[in-house]
Symmetry: C2
Subunit: 278 residues, 2 copies
């Protein structure tokens, strides 16, 4: 297992962690200022300056782009909606290429409005990823399916376990397709160790960290800082590294509590927790 | 598949649905008034009048007791805590016998305070159920393990899938041990159909219904009335009945919205939804 205690070279800042406080330009400068080696922008932040300018500034700063968040949101009520989602995902692939991201993270989407057919939504997701792969493989941009916690099955992602993500990779082929493991979504899974091993080095494209708070007061915006909750973070990092993962630990904390803080206090906390509890 | 459209003879009222408005006495009278054939009290309601008096009144009303909610909460930080939990569960078995419940529902408990060891908590649960079975089998009271949604893994139940519950039944034996299937907790599970079939008639001891709202605004107290959310209720009822389930549909709705209503309006809504969407 790697020793991360020395610095934050293998820490990546997912920009949503300071979404309410900082622009992308400020995030880039903040990472440099606090010795954080990677960044993972959301597309809303990317649009502030455009992908080309973002690529230039991130490159000048010497940061690794651990992912672009996010593609996905595939299921739709009709063919036109599915096509629009696919077109948008192709643009996301292109932006990910422009900024040199290691992968495009896919939050695959939930039930179309009015639908109760989760099996059908899952079929749509698989079919849309298959179509997107034609473009992403040509562009040499890996797609990382991110299983989301089952509490988001209806409205954000109907891929809710690593087993499902692995099944999709089995079906569509590993070339340019893998998985983003986010602790928040998978920590509870009794099948976690087996499915991480099944994914293996080839599929493990990203590793996102935060913590599960007790109590959790909001379904979306109450994620915890690493160490403040109940997830066995180091134990799970051990699993992904035993499976061959050698990339960054990306902090993705959606939290009203942390959005109310000065980012120049948040980032040192991320660094300290990265070194001591991740 | 059974036709439930004629009446509410196979509907059971879980008392938590009107917890804030009615006493157990009022729940019993309300069921009779609205033609609801079953009742499932929580232990706090049972304590109001004592199990013996509750048994007499429920019997006089001609109601079937579809379950007693709840035993469980097994994991503890030390042996004394585990023993106290076990003792309390034995009393719950005795109360379930007194009121003639079809099963004692087990919400198994989450992580002990300060713990990040979910595998250890799961081991504690299995071991405690094994011990409780010595008492419950002698008393002829079936235990129904209720898998809870993964969003409750930390603080309410570390058994989060039907697969886990089936595994425990495999390990400890089917005699006096089964499963309570609650739609709210399992609807998202990609393995749902297979695990219901695996459970089969022998293990399917209870079937709880409500709905998953979009958006869901509270992790605990925002369950939906059947038909108001995205769960394919009839599709899942078809699965449990195809597996042999022939018991009641028990409505268990924890909801601030419905707790603010007059129960004499809530119960007719339960009946109408039972007949039309369950």
């Amino acid at each position: 297992m790697r020793d991360l205690s020395a610095d934050a070279a293998l820490l990546s800042l997912n920009t949503i962690t300071v979404r309410e406080q900082w622009s992308l330009a400020e995030c880039i400068e903040g990472c440099v200022r606090h010795g954080i080696g990677g960044i993972s922008p959301w597309r809303d932040k990317l649009e502030e300056m455009g992908a080309g300018e973002a690529a230039r500034r991130i490159g000048d700063a010497g940061l690794t782009v651990t992912g672009l968040c996010r593609g996905g949101m595939f299921p739709a009520a009709d063919a036109a909606g599915r096509q629009a989602a696919l077109d948008d995902n192709r643009r996301a692939v292109d932006d990910a290429c422009t900024i040199g991201a290691r992968c495009l993270v896919l939050v695959v989407g939930g039930l179309p409005p009015g639908s109760r057919d989760i099996a059908g939504a899952r079929d749509q997701v698989r079919d849309s990823i298959a179509k997107l792969l034609q473009h992403s493989r040509a562009a040499d941009m890996p797609l990382a399916i991110e299983p989301l916690h089952p509490m988001y099955a209806a409205d954000r992602a109907c891929v809710n376990t690593l087993a499902q993500a692995n099944d999709i990779c089995d079906e569509l082929g590993d070339d340019g397709l893998g998985i983003a493991v986010d602790l928040y979504h998978v920590w509870w899974d009794p099948d976690l160790a087996a499915q991480i091993a099944r994914a293996g080095k080839k599929r493990l494209l990203a590793f996102h960290v935060c913590d599960w708070l007790v109590p959790t007061t909001d379904l979306l915006l109450d994620r915890g800082m690493m160490g403040d909750g109940v997830i066995d973070i180091r134990g799970i990092r051990q699993l992904v590294e035993a499976a061959g993962y050698d990339g960054f630990c990306e902090t993705e904390i959606l939290s009203r509590r942390w959005w109310a803080e000065d980012p120049d206090a948040v980032l040192p906390t991320l660094v300290e927790r990265h070194r001591t509890v991740v």
